[in-house]
């Protein structure tokens, strides 16, 4: 299959790649660009571990074609801190990341990048959500370790922190 040169804007940085038209964004992020913070599992948009933000919307990158991502702003977990403005200095965490650490919301951690980005997309539009709304927003992200409780608590706590800060 003929390869196509594309330009992707990921975490506010410009990346060039040469990809087949059927390559997924997930595969290009992980294999071509080494951004393995975005995780791989079901490859069928069932589990949510590959969630990234495209123009602020949470998408399953395993079913999102890389060529379609051209011209759009892509945010991966590596670009979240401090507020989606490029790679973070060591030790700087986004309020969502900080809340996940403090609430014990992380166990194996494999679902966490996708979980945090789904939460980010939702909170950006719904700064003061109810618990039920958070649970609805995260329903596309499977977690097998935590039972979701501490994740939901972390998102609700982060919502409060983000609503009270100017950088969110």
């Amino acid at each position: 299959m003929a390869r196509i040169p594309i330009v992707l804007t990921i975490n506010r940085e410009r990346h060039e790649a040469l990809v087949e038209p059927d390559r997924t964004l997930l595969d290009v992020l992980r294999t071509d660009l080494g951004l393995t913070g975005t995780k791989t599992n079901c490859l069928d948009a069932e589990c949510g571990v590959c969630t990234v933000l495209v123009d602020g919307l949470a998408v399953n990158s395993c079913l999102y074609l890389a060529v379609v991502a051209q011209g759009r702003a892509i945010t991966t977990i590596e670009g979240l801190a401090p507020a989606g403005e490029g790679p973070a200095p060591a030790g700087t965490l986004h309020p969502l990341q900080q809340a996940f650490v403090e609430h014990g919301a992380v166990q194996c951690g494999y679902c966490i990048p996708g979980m945090i980005l789904s939460a980010k997309a939702y909170l950006d539009d719904h700064p003061r959500p109810s618990e039920a709304q958070v649970r609805e927003a995260l329903a596309g992200n499977l977690c097998r370790c935590t039972g979701y409780q501490k994740i939901v608590d972390a998102v609700l706590d982060a919502a409060g922190r983000m609503a009270g800060s100017v950088t969110s």
């Binding site: 393995t36 995780k39 599992n41 609430h103 951690g109 097998r144 039972g147 409780q149 501490k150």
Partner: protein
């Protein structure tokens, strides 16, 4: 230690959290090497057949394909935990849909997949054995006609399709039936379920010019994988380095060798590094799920509700190879006894071959199935006798100093407190608050698995501490717990500790992340290392401070004497200059648990070490029309001995219950005619954030005598009781007595129609 603990007992954030929330933590599935090939496994399409022909020549000639291997390319060995019955690739006979037949490596995943499609296999079907009844029927076809020739643990009682029959006999059940006023007999069934870890099994293998292979894997047991690879590759373990970068969940599904051997064999053949990563379809058709079971339970009881005898048989559908079945069947008999005083017991666990995927270990192996039967029947008995289910349990539960089923003496028994507190928290007095709504409870006991652990602990010249352990962090925060024990023992902060783990060349041996043992055993090894470091530090410091070693203490990152102190950093620097560094080797092996050997046969797990006790209670509503179950509240009271880190113990409870609710209400690997019908994550229905209720954790602390600060194993127990607790609540709510897992809405509706006549 006299002062209040500074580090243990506190809900401190886990050490690996920052890497996991920023995406910098590297898991095995993320691992890559330059020039790496992608490996794929060609799997049997038949449940039971003679492999008449296998032609890989066309696949081998495709562009980008660098290696194709099948049985004729690999050593003719069989491997396995209890029975060495499994070949790397099927050669003459395939025994389940999904069994590996060949493997390929290619420069891209797409090229590897194209090669799989070009492999031609011709099968001559044999009669398949598709369930327990068929496997146990007189004259049933043997899955392994050559079973007698296999190397196996000599304790096992094997016979044809039965790869172990474990038994506990206590007293005389015939006498118990005579003493009983009522005898209850029930049959329960449970479905095959998958651990559901979010990171697929993964391995990258690379050989060097000296004939050494390095395998980066997400196994829970790097040393077990090293030993199995030595068998399969026919090379010495010292040539095999297994490194575990990070593990995205295991729950027992990543104990035994997964895809490491395919990566290593393909890498040897191709001369290039090879990565193998499983798909969801492979996970649900060819992994190590929890065995489906059939359970027959007969219990005698007096009018007052005193248990007189129990006879139980639990049959595990362990699939085409023994896997963990023989051990799981053994453990099951201890669960079938329940945490109850029962004078007469006759309990058997059978591991049975069928033409399905090889089953393994899944968080508290056998626990949820056997407990579902025991605790469902306790409620049936309570209802029949007109005794409150809580009261019936309180009349029979074990207490301090009682005997377990095999004669072990039980200590630190917090069960009564667990039951009373769980019942109080759920509002037990009002058990049927409104039509369609009911409350249920269930209790149980579980083990803290033994096995040895070693750690190296080094004090760095800046006064921080390096913990080097062969254990693996699979997500439970067990190694953070162990680090808390180490920090407490050395008088430093948790943040001062860095952990290096899971590398068969660079870390000391550890029995691995299994059986709720990691924080317990590694924590104790840390205590031993800290004691050794203390001796070395005090010897150095005593000279400098001019006092005797007896006058010294470890506090606030210093060795402190009556009138002066010296920092750990200074002492470590001095040791580096003159003594080769401040380092200690700490080890731990759990002491054996005494039991009566005459009570058991075929039993590879005859006692529960440092047992934990627990009770679950649930409040739910059943929709009479649709059978839908809505859980309002779920409470767990668990005797954890001592809570090393309460937040992460709650995390174990919340996650274990969520997983248990999946097994209870929605999860099942559905086989028809030997084929899995739902090998994807849409049709294999794991709970989402909308399905799991809030869970209240009550941490009960009856300190044990062995674990660090009295801690007991905590990871597996929360998975044991959810099926029974929910089944009992559904019955209380008027949804009928469902004796088959999962308890789907369909089963509830059908049961209520039957009861309505």
């Amino acid at each position: 230690m006299s002062a209040a603990p500074r580090v243990v007992g506190h809900s401190l954030p886990r050490l690996d959290a920052p890497g996991k929330v920023t995406g910098s933590a590297v898991y095995a599935a993320d691992f890559a090497l330059p020039g790496m090939l992608y490996g794929k496994v060609f799997r049997s399409a038949e449940p039971h057949a003679r492999l008449a022909r296998l032609d890989t020549s066309r696949a081998a000639g495709l562009p980008g394909v660098r290696a194709v291997i099948s049985a004729s390319d690999v050593p003719d060995v069989r491997y396995g935990a209890a029975v060495k019955d499994e070949p790397v690739f099927a050669s003459d006979v395939v025994r389940y849909v999904g069994q590996p037949v060949a493997a390929v490596a290619a420069v891209t995943l797409e090229a590897a997949e194209a090669a799989l499609a070009a492999i031609e296999a011709v099968y001559e079907p044999l009669p398949p054995v598709l369930d327990l009844a068929a496997a146990l029927a007189p004259g049933a076809p043997l899955i392994h006609p050559e079973w007698r020739s296999y190397t196996a643990n000599p304790i096992l009682q094997r016979d044809g399709n039965v790869c172990n029959r474990a038994r506990i006999v206590v007293g005389d059940v015939e006498r118990g039936w005579v003493e009983a006023d009522r005898v209850f007999e029930h049959r329960f069934t449970t479905a095959m379920v998958h651990q559901g870890y979010t990171e697929p099994r993964a391995a990258v293998a690379a050989w060097d010019s000296s004939g050494q292979v390095t395998v980066w894997s997400n196994t829970q047991l790097p040393f077990d994988v090293q030993a199995t690879l030595a068998d399969i590759l026919a090379i010495a373990p010292s040539k095999i380095r297994v490194i575990v970068p990070g593990v995205g969940g295991g729950f027992g599904g990543k104990l035994r060798i997964g895809v490491e051997h395919f990566a290593a064999l393909l890498a040897r053949k191709s001369g290039r590094p090879v990565k193998v990563l499983t798909t969801s379809e492979e996970e649900l058709t060819a992994a190590y799920p929890r065995q489906g079971t059939v359970i027959e339970l007969k219990t005698g009881v007096t009018r007052e509700g005193r248990l007189t005898a129990r006879q139980g048989r639990i049959y595990f559908d362990t699939g085409a190879f023994a896997g963990s079945g023989p051990g799981v069947a053994s453990v099951a008999t201890l669960v079938l006894a329940g945490p109850y005083r029962t004078p007469n017991l006759h309990l058997e666990g059978y591991a049975v071959y069928t033409n399905k995927t090889n089953c393994g270990s899944y968080r508290a192996p056998s626990g949820p199935q056997a407990n579902f039967a025991v605790e469902s029947q306790m409620d049936i008995i309570a209802d029949a006798l007109g005794i409150d289910p809580l009261e019936l349990r309180l009349r029979n539960i074990v207490h301090e100093g009682d005997e377990g089923p095999t004669g072990q003496v039980l200590t630190a028994v917090g069960l009564e407190e667990c039951l009373r507190r769980a019942a109080a928290a759920i509002g037990w007095r009002d058990r049927r608050p409104e039509p369609g709504r009911g409350k249920g409870l269930a209790c149980g006991w579980w083990t803290t698995t033994g096995g040895s652990s070693g750690v190296y602990v080094k004090i760095n010249p800046d006064g921080t501490v390096a913990l080097n352990t062969g254990a693996v962090e699979i997500g439970t925060a067990a190694l953070t717990g162990a680090a808390q024990v180490l920090a407490e023992s050395l008088g430093v902060d948790l943040a001062d500790i860095t952990v290096v783990s899971g590398d068969t060349f660079a870390t000391p041996f550890d029995f691995g992340a299994q059986g709720s043992r990691t924080a317990f055993a590694v924590g104790n090894a840390c205590r031993a290392a800290a004691a050794e470091l203390q001796r070395k530090l005090f010897a150095l410091a005593a000279v400098q401070l001019g006092v005797s070693e007896e006058a010294l203490a470890l506090r606030d990152k210093h060795v402190v004497g009556p009138s002066g102190r010296v920092s750990l950093a200074d002492l470590a620097r001095q040791s580096q200059q003159a003594g080769g560094g401040m380092i200690a080797h700490g080890t731990f092996i759990a002491p054996g648990t005494a039991y009566d050997t005459k009570r058991v046969e075929g039993h590879v797990y005859p006692a529960f070490h440092s047992p934990s006790f627990h009770a679950h209670a649930v409040d739910l509503t059943v929709d009479e029309a649709t059978g839908e179950v809505t859980i309002h509240k779920y409470v767990v009271a668990q005797d954890v001995g001592f809570a090393l880190n309460p937040t992460y113990i709650e995390g174990q409870i919340e996650g274990g219950v969520a997983q248990g609710l999946g097994q209870t209400l929605s999860e099942e690997i559905v086989y028809r005619d030997g084929r899995v019908l739902n090998a994807n994550l849409t049709d294999y229905k794991m709970p989402t954030s909308l399905d799991v209720p809030r869970i209240e954790s009550i941490l009960v602390e009856h300190p044990g005598g062995v674990g660090p600060f009295g801690a007991k194993g905590v990871g597996e127990p929360p998975n044991v009781e959810p099926p029974a607790a929910v089944a009992n609540a559904i019955a209380a709510a008027g949804g009928g007595r469902i004796t088959s897992l999962p308890i789907t809405a369909e089963k509830i509706v059908l049961a209520s129609r039957r009861e309505a006549g």
